[in-house]
């Protein structure tokens, strides 16, 4: 077990460091440390602006989301790895060549993901906060407790997503039943007048620490992991199932698009890989439901109508990651024998991305209607989509066809955060000042167009990267 774990750790490191250099990647946790260290000095300021406890809530929910995202990516399967990294073969998919069971390999993979991403994301943040504590006057125990509960929040996301995706692979019915039960239970708690956030064990532990609660939380997490591993079913290989032709009808239907040949291929990829449904559930609807829930707890801190507009902005940011859905199954390799340039591929992926934007538009419209804010439906939808198109243009410029991989390049991440952060802050201020002024966010499409043009020139000039 230890040899395999060690090898998987090295493999994960090499995947990242091969793509953008060891030093650049090694700087990633340093940057997280820096953000936490400097952020710790802003805590008193933020606490005066936010109602008590909301900062802790935001932090814990962010780490819950992080766990969900890491777990989701880990489970995307061999195909993603092969398409993204060309002929790379990963240990996680070597059950046929190693004398180990698929369960054994998956368990090691889960442990590897937990440890690796803990040291990449969680530990540097906790240590950054701890390192600042002598200067900010925060008690050392407070910092240590935060490190512990953020770790638990991260693990909650990770093991929940492993558990849910294993259930999804086994039985769609059971998955929906579990989701329905969870939603019903949360609704009951809300109706009973209890703050449901306090039922999130890591946050409850942070507010009132007790050894019993810690042990109970640990037991629940371990149980979820164990069930996920026990029920894990490896994807079948070598089946020669016949498939009816989807490509030709799609090609004919998409004639109006600029590049129907590539668009039809992308749709078939998304549909057949299960990526569309999986991504919609795990990378879009579930995170946005969680975000809506946490944002609604923060609503007293927002101006009137601020909750809907804030949700539209966050939905826009999450929706921009749909670009990763359409790029994850592709490396440039399969196109290298065809007369296709990188810029043409980027355009095609952005066209697909634009088609998928119907989902966030509907989602924001639904949120506006359900929250009784129909009057602000249009500015909210425009705001969300403008943010999404702007953020994806920045992503295309910074990462080309490899956003899933280059996100761990510290330079790319930093520039992405700055460029989208500035737009988000400006649009938030505008929308909070006057909800209809959010319509002005369409102006973001001008820099977005500029970034897309720059992306095409930039990535055409670079040799398409293999693994």
């Amino acid at each position: 077990m230890f040899e395999l774990l060690h090898a998987m750790m090295k493999e994960e490191w090499r995947i990242h460091s091969t793509m953008f250099g060891s030093i650049s990647f090694a700087l990633f946790p340093v940057m997280i440390f820096g953000i936490a260290f400097m952020g710790a000095f802003l805590v008193p300021l933020m606490q005066s602006a936010l109602p008590a406890g909301n900062l802790a809530l935001t932090l814990h929910s962010s780490y819950l989301m992080l766990g969900i995202m890491v777990g989701g990516f880990g489970l995307l399967g061999n195909e993603v790895m092969n398409r993204r990294f060309g002929q790379a073969s990963l240990l996680a998919y070597s059950a046929r060549s190693l004398p180990l069971t698929a369960q054994h390999i998956f368990a090691t993979f889960v442990v590897k993901d937990t440890i690796y991403y803990f040291f990449l994301w969680v530990f540097p943040f906790g240590i950054g906060y701890l390192a600042a504590s002598p200067f900010t006057g925060t008690p050392l125990t407070g910092g240590l407790l935060l490190l512990l509960t953020l770790t638990l929040a991260f693990l909650s996301g990770l093991c929940t997503i492993f558990f849910l995706s294993t259930i999804w692979a086994r039985s769609r019915l059971l998955f929906w039943l579990l989701l329905l039960l969870g939603t019903a239970a949360a609704s009951l708690v809300v109706v009973a007048g209890t703050n449901p956030a306090l039922l999130f064990p890591p946050l409850a532990l942070y507010r009132t620490f007790s050894w019993d609660s810690l042990v109970a939380t640990g037991v629940v997490l371990v149980l979820l992991f164990v069930v996920a591993i026990a029920l894990f079913s490896p994807e079948p290989v070598g089946s020669e199932k016949r498939h009816r032709d989807l490509y030709l009808p799609l090609l004919q239907r998409l004639r109006a698009l600029p590049d129907p040949a590539l668009a039809a291929k992308d749709i078939v990829d998304l549909y057949r890989s299960g990526g569309l449904v999986g991504q919609m559930i795990f990378s879009f609807f579930l995170p946005l439901l969680v975000i809506w829930f946490f944002l609604s707890l923060l609503s007293p801190a927002f101006p009137p109508h601020g909750l809907l507009l804030m949700f539209a902005i966050v939905t826009g940011v999450v929706a921009s990651t749909m670009y990763t859905w359409v790029t994850m199954f592709d490396s440039f390799g399969p196109y290298a024998c065809l007369p296709v340039s990188v810029s043409r591929l980027i355009s095609a992926k952005l066209t697909m991305f634009a088609l998928l934007q119907v989902l966030p538009a509907l989602f924001i419209a639904g949120a506006a209607i359900l929250s009784g804010e129909t009057a602000y439906l249009v500015p909210a939808v425009v705001l969300g989509l403008a943010i999404s198109f702007y953020a994806v243009a920045v992503m295309a410029w910074l990462a080309g066809l490899s956003p899933n991989v280059l996100v761990y390049d510290v330079k790319v991440l930093f520039l992405n955060m700055v460029l989208t952060g500035v737009a988000i802050i400006a649009m938030t201020a505008l929308a909070f000042a006057e909800p209809y002024a959010a319509l002005g966010s369409v102006l973001l499409l001008i820099p977005a167009w500029f970034f897309v043009q720059k992306a095409k020139t930039r990535w055409d000039a670079v040799d398409p990267a293999g693994f």
Binding site: K241, D269, R272, C337, L338
Partner: protein, 241 residues
């Protein structure tokens, strides 16, 4: 004779690694040209440069009169390519992949042409199977098909026989020999010397990125030599040097 492919002092570095070092070559129309060399000699890098997948770090190269750095997509639209490692997209069936290639290359009558290739390479029963579920050999048949289905004036093919069984190798060798008889050109990269000797008209030997020799098979056999022994003596001598 028209020169369809030429390189002048072309080089490629990957950081400190010199993959190709000042290679000068010319390939005439109608030739079946074999680029030979041991593993890691720079053959695949040469093909990648000639098809515009990677830019040379020195020298120049032209394919069908087009500079590889100026219009790589223009080159790829006029040639056929079999890359050494790439496989067809996983979630398309074999037939869908050929439709996709046809849509990109604007090939008419794809149904009829695809059926001819499915029959010729004996994989009609796999036309509706997803590429990810095909065996290596069948994937190679599909890659071979996509490279030749538009009957390009020049095909650059990297180890095209490597996953084929002996029967299929024989069939494909005959096809390649017949293809150049129609006045088209093939640039074949391989380390299977017996195949090269059997079907190539001209050859070049590359070792550690450097061109060791260019010549014709006819000259070689005319002086009673054989490609495998000539190749081994040349490479061993160079290795010793």
């Amino acid at each position: 004779m028209t020169i369809v492919l030429e390189t002048r002092d072309v080089s490629k570095n990957y950081g400190d690694v010199q993959a190709v070092n000042g290679v000068t070559l010319a390939v005439e129309e109608g030739a079946l040209f074999g680029l030979l060399g041991p593993n890691g000699s720079g053959k695949t890098t040469m093909i990648r440069m000639l098809t515009g997948q990677t830019r040379p770090t020195g020298g120049s190269a032209k394919v069908l009169g087009i500079d590889v750095t100026e219009d790589p997509v223009g080159i790829r639209s006029r040639v056929g390519i079999i890359p050494e490692q790439e496989t067809p997209p996983s979630f398309l069936s074999a037939m869908e992949y050929l439709r996709f290639v046809a849509a990109i290359r604007k090939i008419p009558d794809i149904e009829k042409k695809a059926d001819w290739w499915f029959d010729f390479l004996d994989f009609a029963d796999k036309k509706d199977v997803l590429c990810k579920d095909l065996s290596r050999g069948t994937r190679q048949k599909l890659m071979f098909t996509q490279a030749f289905i538009h009957e390009p004036a020049l095909a650059l093919i990297d180890e095209p026989l490597i996953n084929f069984d002996p029967i299929m190798q024989d069939l494909v060798k005959d096809y390649l020999a017949g293809y150049v008889k129609k006045g088209r050109t093939i640039f074949l990269s391989t380390h299977i010397l017996e195949v090269a000797e059997e079907i190539c008209s001209e050859f070049a030997i590359l070792h550690k990125g450097t061109l060791l020799h260019t010549g014709t098979i006819a000259d070689l056999t005319g002086r009673g030599d054989h490609l495998p022994s000539f190749f081994l003596s040349l490479v061993r001598k160079d290795r010793h040097v």
